[in-house]
Symmetry: C2
Subunit: 346 residues, 2 copies
Amino acid sequence: MRAAVFNGPGEIDIEERPKPEIEGPDHAIVRVTHTAVCGSDLWFYRGESDREAGSRVGHEPMGVVEAVGEDVVSVEPGDRVFAPFLQSCGRCEFCRRGLHTSCVDVGSWNGDDGGAQGEYVRATHADGTLVRVPDRYADDEGVLRSILPLTDVMGTGHHAVRSAGVEAGDSCVVVGDGAVGLCAVAAARRLGAERIVAMGHHEDRLDLARAFGATDTVAARGEAAVERAHDLTHGGAAHVVEAVGAASAMETAVEVCRPGGTVGYVGVPHGMDGLDLYPLFGDNITLRGGVAPVRAYADDLLADVLQGTLDPAPVFTETVSLGDVPEGYRLMDQREAVKVLVEVDA
Amino acid sequence: MRAAVFNGPGEIDIEERPKPEIEGPDHAIVRVTHTAVCGSDLWFYRGESDREAGSRVGHEPMGVVEAVGEDVVSVEPGDRVFAPFLQSCGRCEFCRRGLHTSCVDVGSWNGDDGGAQGEYVRATHADGTLVRVPDRYADDEGVLRSILPLTDVMGTGHHAVRSAGVEAGDSCVVVGDGAVGLCAVAAARRLGAERIVAMGHHEDRLDLARAFGATDTVAARGEAAVERAHDLTHGGAAHVVEAVGAASAMETAVEVCRPGGTVGYVGVPHGMDGLDLYPLFGDNITLRGGVAPVRAYADDLLADVLQGTLDPAPVFTETVSLGDVPEGYRLMDQREAVKVLVEVDA
């Protein structure tokens, strides 16, 4: 089978790799039809985080079940499924509490199970991990494009907004105009936020933010951006989303947060020597969030996508084939794409 | 009037200073009868934080109102009062929401208003800041000793526990066996926590923690301490209090926190180059807290002290006169006292 492989910073190649097989009763083999390139993939692509050379990549699988182990009950061969960026058992304390990312047997899409940017992956906890797409939508390419972000960025944006404590009628600020920030805007609108201020550096992405529900956008940088956000929120928002994971974005998020407010953060902390707690301490700003348990949100978000009230598909501004995954990384790295969809079986 | 003054690291002196006077309609002059030395005073005492040489010190005033401005309605001359470590207006958005520390006109006990370790202080927002002790308790030295911690450490411990989300029946871990940690234990018991694990390095203070309501204590250090806390809480507590403000204590607090749990922190962040967010990120641990709005809690805590169900007085393990305030600092610095009470009019 063909799979995208990381061979060092800037080097993604398509190589032949062994196809994963059922090796346990909870396993399922999924023929990947759609996947994506993630902003978090850029950290190793740029050499800013470590990753083993030769490792398979991709963590946003959607496809068709090809085979299942004998204990699997929730899916069967032929089902269209998608899965979060982490595998989870679905049965432990943390999965039952909706914190699948802290599953006692949490697993990544990697190594022997295959990366999602490849022709096949193995779910080692198929019942706990895979989400079935109802048959009537299983081959609707338009719907599948809208569902695919639920593997990562849409669930992550939702987690950020939930972590920030956004409820109907609230005002919130979303720092970051990448795919997660845009999805956070959509999530905030979905939860009924009345004022949604999107902050970013790219006019075209802020246009998308407005399409997703932002009532205001701030394209300025530095102090001017913070001042503008303060003006728009009359002194800071009680709910702020940090959707980047960079030190500067976290700093901005804290600065635009109202005393006593909450910063919901979901960007993988990156390039931070450490967070200066003092600005949070002085104004009792809560920091809540972390790696998003998107499995916990998949069913609710899927229902909204299927009824047409939520559509994160516009985050995919470019589409490539599996063979062009290296080009997909380049497009993301150069910010020529917000997010790249990969049609694996194209 | 006599007042304690900071003249450089390790140098606290009693000097003559001008007595503050009423200069505005919201002012009150309080003749200080009792005050205390605070763990946070040690940062400048040890030269670990900056403070202007010659500045007055102390921020935990209790005393008798001597004079009030014409607009003051809540206290009158002769009233026994105490006050939080910060002054606040009581009328702005933040005061009304119980976040008096973010008052739009927040003020410290310092400069012209006088430090609390002196014979007089001026409250510039008397109605928003001073808390009146009912007349029947106004001269009961035993009760006054129990009330005095409400100026700072008891309200701070309570804020930590509230920030950590402790509710009746919960298990929690309190990291730190200083006065704030001990008060956090008392606060957790007051809120109905069923299991309270106190972690510290001093057996005598942990004995006090047990007297305050700790069901278990952990005196070990490093990995052994974390393992013991994990054993006691079956894998970490959902509610953890960080009551020190040092990097090592914050690290321990995060390590003993259960995935999805909350660390409530109230120690002034100190000696931290920056908090490594990654351990919080991976397990979705919330960080909530900050400088404690003790004015918000004063009335409720006072009611409990007066009815005898809360008594933080045992944190005062030494008592000195105003003239011996320098010795009080030494006792705190050398850890020969948990907290020092100052009888200013003795």
